[in-house]
């Protein structure tokens, strides 16, 4: 039960002055890392429920009650503990790093404004003090002092097993793996002049207690690998290529085309191919985008504009529901329920169940990506897209796994029907985007000329520029070969978030290709 708040408003000085050093935590012991990695929430099948809560239910309920005591419209308490283990091989040198973090974030929302504070302590009194501080900051009159918050644990059929747990793999085995990957890259070709491999394993357990009475206990294990290879030929041409994978899973996920070895091999192959490549032609002509990773282009140039906060603030997808924002035949989806994919979860970071959200259906805008705050401002319900990087941040609308739905055309037919253009294998060459206007520029990491309906020579130095809506509206062919890409890339929007991408092979006619080669026109 929430206590009476009268006369207990806490000054900022007092709030900030309450030191954290030396305060014992509820959940950590001397075997800190082992507890984190072996906590009941992390073991087989990720047990959900009250067992394994980071902070006791009654403490969470009381903290939420304090948060709501001064009239906030709604609020939540977000407790988190996370362990990150990273291994890196750079310039043939192998190193590791370890990070253990914990904390609790408090959010009170009043009239659409968010008031937020966090603490690194799990000590109950410290939690209550921080909750009262946020409640005071959000106070605009009214209030429900003494309100009782009854929490009910939420359950989901979605589970994200971590097999094996990072702690179940000996350090020696991780180092041996990296020695093997390093040797694999360096011995692949005498022209390799530098190679980097990076792997990160994160176990993150969160408890979310909301003023609506939801209680979430969720544990996710994220494994990511990235390989970057530099090659140099006799003429001094230096090229770089990279590849990556990421998944909410243990390393058992990384087999076949997602294996660590494949990631290294692909980065080497792509870099070598660039040495043989010709300069990309330039101009506006058909661009065939290969399946999978290229979905990042639409994530950047279109997906951000459909995030409810940016749509509310005036992105070029604002007020487009029911209107045509893409070519007929194009369906854009954001799905947080794909097993093991890096943008998936059972509940988002404000307790809303994850879902599959259709953003554009057959060319018509159907929805936006909403959290509770910005969805309400748009008059829409949350789509389960409220995400936060950690307890340090309030949730904001973020994408999950964003992809273009498959069409009906065989991919080879798309290439065969293109007289002159380029085929883009991936856009891993870096770039930038204005998320409000959708203007983008992205570098092609792997690309080829299409001449007389056939993929011919590899190209280098190609860039793709355009505007998101324009690109979507000029898609004239959609392949049937939808491929999802479990990316290790993080989406950055003041906070970083793991995301996935996907798409089938498509053809676009409204993108400007940059390059040092000859000027081309659209000849079909």
């Amino acid at each position: 039960m929430a206590g009476t708040q009268k006369g207990r408003a806490m000054s900022r000085r007092k709030f900030l002055g309450t030191g954290m050093a030396g305060i014992p935590s509820l959940a950590f012991s001397s075997a800190l890392i082992e507890i984190l990695l072996h906590s009941s929430g992390c073991k087989s099948g990720l047990k959900q429920g009250l067992e394994g809560l980071i902070i006791p239910e009654d403490v969470l309920a009381k903290a939420v009650a304090f948060l709501m005591a001064k009239g906030a419209d709604f609020g939540d308490v977000f407790a988190e503990r996370a362990a990150t283990d990273a291994v890196m091989s750079d310039d043939r040198k192998i190193n590791t790093s370890t990070t253990i973090e914990k904390g609790v974030g408090f959010r009170a929302v009043k009239d659409g404004k968010t008031f937020y504070a966090y603490t690194g302590s799990f000590e109950p009194e410290r939690l209550y003090e921080t909750a009262r501080y946020v409640a005071d900051a959000a106070s605009l009159g009214g209030g429900r002092e003494g309100a009782v918050i009854i929490l009910t644990v939420q359950r989901s059929s979605l589970t994200f097993p971590i097999t094996p747990l990072p702690s179940e793999v000996a350090v020696e085995k991780k180092i041996d793996l990296f020695k093997g990957l390093t040797n694999r890259a360096w011995s692949a070709d005498p022209r390799v002049v530098q190679a980097i491999q990076f792997m990160r394993e994160i176990i993150r357990q969160v408890n979310i207690a909301t003023s609506s009475g939801e209680l979430i206990n969720q544990t996710l294990g994220l494994t990511e690998i990235l390989a970057q290879t530099f090659v140099k030929d006799d003429q001094g041409s230096l090229q770089m290529a990279m590849d990556m994978r990421g998944a909410y899973a243990g390393r058992d996920f990384f087999t076949g085309e997602n294996s660590f070895e494949t990631v290294v091999d692909k980065s080497v192959e792509k870099a070598k191919r660039l040495l043989e490549a010709v300069d990309s032609p330039r101009g506006v002509f058909p661009v065939v985008l290969g399946p999978g990773m290229n979905g990042v282009l639409f994530h950047e140039s279109c997906g951000h504009g459909m995030e409810a906060d940016l749509a509310f603030k005036g992105s070029n997808f604002k007020d487009q529901i029911g209107k045509q924002t893409a070519a007929k035949g194009v369906t854009l989806i954001d799905d947080g329920t794909i097993p093991q994919f890096p943008g998936s979860f059972s509940f988002d970071d404000e307790g809303t169940p994850s879902e599959k959200t259709v953003l554009i259906e057959d060319g018509i805008q159907r929805n936006y990506l909403c959290d509770l705050v910005w969805g309400k401002k748009l008059g829409l319900k949350s789509t389960g897209n409220g995400r936060r990087q950690s307890f340090r941040y309030p949730p904001i609308p973020r994408m999950r796994n964003t992809y273009i739905e498959k069409g009906a055309i065989p991919p080879e037919e798309i290439i065969a029907s293109t007289k002159r253009g380029i085929y883009v294998g991936d856009v891993s060459g870096g770039g930038q985007v204005d998320v409000i206007t959708g203007n983008f520029m992205m570098g092609v990491g792997e690309g080829y000329l299409i001449e007389d309906g056939k993929m011919t020579r590899p190209i280098k130095g190609a860039t793709l520029s355009g505007m998101g809506i324009q690109a979507l509206k000029t898609i004239d062919m959609v392949g049937r070969d939808l491929k999802m890409f479990p990316s290790a890339g993080r989406c950055g929007k003041l906070q970083s978030a793991p995301v996935g991408f996907g798409m089938p092979t498509i053809r676009v006619r409204g993108i400007l290709v940059g390059g040092k080669g000859e000027a081309w026109e659209d000849k079909g």
Binding site: S11, R12, R13, F15, L16, T18, G19, M20, A21, G22, P24, S25, F28, S29, S30, A31, L32, I33, R92, K93, I94, N95, T96, S97, T98, T99, I100, E101, K102, G103, K113, T114, F115, Y116, A117, Y118, T119, G120, Y133, V134, A137, V171, E172, I175, K313, R392, P394
Partner: protein, 141 residues
Amino acid sequence: MKEKKEYMDLTALAVDAARKAGADAAEAYISDTESVQVDVSGRQAETVNAVREAGIGVRVLKDQKLAFGSTNELSKKAIQAIVQDLMKKVVFHTPDEFNVIAGKEAGTLEGGWATHADLVTYDPQIAEVPVQEKIKRAIQI
């Protein structure tokens, strides 16, 4: 300052634990940050975020091998656990002759370092401005 003494004790604890576990040298770094961030959109405060956090980073050096770990759990047991984990891992790292940790071999510091007052990089009055005043100021801007 009491907090500073606590922090110095914790850094010493980390360095001592590493040395006792066989490190040639060790370094501990504690940062303690306070901040208030006000985001204004459409002439209204959209988000107010108040923070105080502290954390420790530890580097251990053994046989020219360097390992790093960090945590914001500033209990003695947690810091000792981090150091133990680093010492377990560092032996597998690749040695590099350029891996060094600056400072005295014993891992202790003498007094006499420059303070914020000496460097004029910190105005303590900023912390005394009420958060509502900061919100007003942000909206004015």
